[in-house]
């Protein structure tokens, strides 16, 4: 190597090193500024037996915010703690600690030692009348099993059927529901009804199959059977070093006082008396918005920098159904109506203006009655580059386009038979993509030419709920329950039209939503099984490796995740019955510069810069 080349290399190395130093100093400085008034906590956890990645719960009792971190080598740390009073406890498998209390002051860096003893630990307490068994015990070989594995488990997973023992008559009625036996005398009432009807289903389901199914379930899951679950025989692979850097936060929703809100006489029974977080999105100011699907329906605005929450009731009784939300580049929060207390009522596309705190947009979503079923409701939506809104009719099999400039709505029936569109996203070319809940196909709507194209992943038929798009315009989808087959991530390369699938190395994986981060990793929410914790998981496409992060609430599945520009993963623990919340996972707490949540390129959260939009686009 010549002296000149050596000198060049040295200079390059020094420059790179200096740049890295500047960046790290800059991040550290930002962290110091934003988090200056916060506290830190670190410490040691001991136990009479070895443990791995114990979960340390640091609960701010003043603000009702939980921080959860993991031990690594028996050490833990948490940061960005709001000053106030705390309760600290630790759990691991078969181990738990007593609760310790402490008060943290602004800027304090507190230390704590915690000792665990034998106890229930992180696993849920055993439930009466619920037993676990091996898959082969619950599903003995025999005629009918293939129908269950290929026809039922595709959507229901392996626990649905054995958890619901019933008589042959009831099983026949259930099969009738799935095959649409009633649909010759009335309209469909739910999008799962008739999903196995002869002319629309994707699994070859003959009359012989039906009889074998009935005989099998009546024999193994009959009236005398006890509810059973398939035991998760594989431990979740945990990387303790990686988990030692991670921190979860949960901002709990205030529970309504008795007799009010969700526990009011009007809503207590139908709404199950609970608040019920669904999807989250970020606004331009770094606030996180949540749809609360409990009754009354509410939008929740969380300022993560303070923990302050504010609720906004949906219009007209707050009971006409809600599910997803999205926020456009003008800050309008869009929320289409879903099932609600009047499933057969007229449904609208609602838009909430946070500045006026009013529902300024209330557009009938099928003004020309294109969808002929009397029961129809919307779910997910996406925004194109012109801020036009596209809303999928999960009950109705169609797509509504709300033109932002004119306020006009046009409805497009989806090309696929029996379509049940779940997630909806827009790609970089303003194509609208939808995940077909019923078949596992991806469907593309060319919004310019108004044409449909269907794409079947390698694993087909399957069950896909959510999908997303990465910075390279690849489409990613999470293939949901597969029974004895592992859950998978599927990538469609739009330039080649080729699918690639990646099996999650966890047999119980039930991937739900997928979302790319700025580094190209694909994050996904993984629903729990009865004895396997709910997860937020990461797939690194470059190394083709997976990482798993157990969530603070064991049973709380999450349908939707959103990723910040700093790589924080926001979600709501939807499955939580007692602790509805807005939650976030910081995979590396040292990268936190703010608790606020920003998309890399602002709302609506595309992984590429948005082109300028004229104000005239806004009606």
């Amino acid at each position: 190597m010549s002296t000149r080349r050596l000198l060049t290399s040295v200079i390059t190395l020094v420059a790179c090193g200096w740049a890295a130093y500047v960046v790290s100093v800059s991040v550290a400085a930002q962290q110091r500024n934003e988090l200056a008034g916060m506290a830190r906590l670190s410490g040691t956890v001991t136990a009479p037996q070895a443990f791995k990645a114990a979960q340390v719960y640091v609960r701010n009792v003043d603000k009702n915010i939980l921080y959860m971190v993991f031990t690594s080598g028996g050490q833990f740390r948490a940061l960005a703690l709001f000053p106030g009073n705390y309760e600290v406890s630790v759990k691991a498998k078969g181990l738990e600690s007593d609760v310790q209390t402490l008060a943290l002051r602004a800027g304090e860096n507190a230390k704590l030692s915690v000792a665990m003893h034998a106890g229930q630990g992180v696993d849920p307490a055993p439930q009466a009348n619920v037993t676990f068994a091996r898959y082969s015990e619950i599903y003995p070989q025999g005629p009918g099993l293939q129908v269950i594995e290929q026809g039922c488990m595709r959507c229901h997973d392996e626990n649905f059927i054995p958890a619901r023992p019933a008589s042959e008559d009831v099983w026949r009625a259930r099969l009738g529901h799935m095959t649409g036996a009633e649909l010759n005398v009335r309209d469909s009432r739910a999008y799962n009804e008739g999903a196995l009807a002869g002319r629309v289903q994707w699994f070859p389901f003959s009359t012989k199959d039906k009889e074998e199914f009935i005989a099998y379930v009546a024999k193994h899951y009959g009236t005398d059977a006890k509810p059973r679950f398939v035991r998760a025989e594989q431990e979740v692979p945990l990387d303790e070093a990686a988990l030692g850097k991670a921190m979860f936060m949960e901002y709990y929703l205030p529970i309504d006082p008795p007799g009010t809100g969700s526990s009011s006489p009007e809503f207590a029974k139908r709404g199950r008396g609970i608040r019920w977080g669904q999807d989250v999105r970020f606004d331009p100011e770094g606030n996180v918005w949540l749809t609360d699907r409990g009754y009354p329906h509410r939008l929740v605005k969380l300022n993560p920098r303070t923990g302050q929450q504010k609720d906004y009731a949906y219009p007209d009784g707050a009971s006409n159904g809600n599910h997803d939300l999205t926020i456009d580049r003008f800050g309008i929060v869009w929320a289409p109506e879903h099932m609600g207390l009047k499933p057969d009522g007229a449904k609208r596309i609602l838009g909430f203006n946070p500045k006026t705190e009013k529902w300024e947009y209330q557009a009938p979503a099928d003004p020309d009655n294109v969808i002929r079923n009397s029961v129809k409701w919307m779910q997910s939506m996406a925004l194109d580059s012109k801020s036009n809104l596209y809303v999928g009719w999960i009950m109705g099999g169609a797509l509504s386009k709300y033109e932002r400039a004119t306020g006009k709505v046009k409805v497009y029936p989806i090309s696929e038979r029996g379509a049940v569109p779940y997630g909806v996203i827009a790609d970089r070319n303003d194509n609208i993509w939808m995940a077909m809940w019923n078949s596992g196909k991806l469907v593309k709507f060319d919004s310019i030419n108004e044409q449909w194209t269907e794409f079947a992943p390698l694993t087909f038929p399957s069950h896909i709920r959510r999908l997303n798009v990465d910075a390279q315009n690849n489409i990613w989808a999470a293939i949901w329950n597969q029974g004895r087959r592992p859950g998978k991530l599927a990538k469609l390369d739009q330039t080649t039209g080729r699918f690639t699938e990646y099996s999650v190395p966890l047999w119980t994986a039930q991937p739900y939503d997928v979302a790319p981060d700025a580094d190209g990793n694909i994050w996904f929410a993984d629903s729990p099984t009865p004895d396997r914790v709910a997860l937020i998981s990461k797939f690194n496409p470059r190394t083709q490796t997976f990482a798993f992060y157990p969530k603070p609430q064991f049973q709380a599945d999450s349908p939707k995740i959103q990723v910040t520009r700093e790589g924080a993963i926001w979600f709501s623990p939807r499955g939580s019955r007692n602790q509805p919340a807005v939650s976030v996972l910081y995979p590396d707490m040292d990268k936190i510069t703010t608790l606020a949540a920003f998309y890399q390129y602002g709302p609506p959260g595309n992984p590429w810069p948005s082109p300028p939009v004229s104000q005239t686009a806004r009606r």
Binding site: Q127, A166, A173, R189, T223, F229, P530
Partner: protein, 166 residues
Amino acid sequence: MRVTHATTAAAFAAAVLVSQLVGSDLEVGSDAAYAQQRSVADGVYTGDQARRGRDHYRKRCILCHLDNGQGREAEPVIVGQSLEREGDPEAPPVAGEAFLKKWNGRTAKALYDTMRTTMPVGSAGSLSPQEYADVLAYLLELSKLPAGQQELPAAPDRLDLITIKQ
């Protein structure tokens, strides 16, 4: 041709007359039987009627209300089971103690009208009046109430004379 028409008309008229005479006894019992207030404990349906009702129940009701009318309460909180329950709605018990307690003191007409105007969900009124009465008879049988010699009528004014008691 005229003879044939006349014969047919006469036969039809006779059939109508016979069915009215016979049907009134078979289906709704004698007027005297319903001239006074009765209770569901007084044998207000027949075993045959309950069997017909069971057939209708198995086709139209059992999915939600299950085998013995126990209904489907809010699903038990099972770890790992999502709260998502669309298409799998809660259904109240339609037989047994809780059911009788709920309807205690009200009339069979009130229950019959509720069934006819709300059930099955999404296709209320899709059974015939007689079929609704038959299903109601089956619900009484499931509730351990005794059968009698006369069928439960599909006549609201007569059902109004039958009181539901625990």
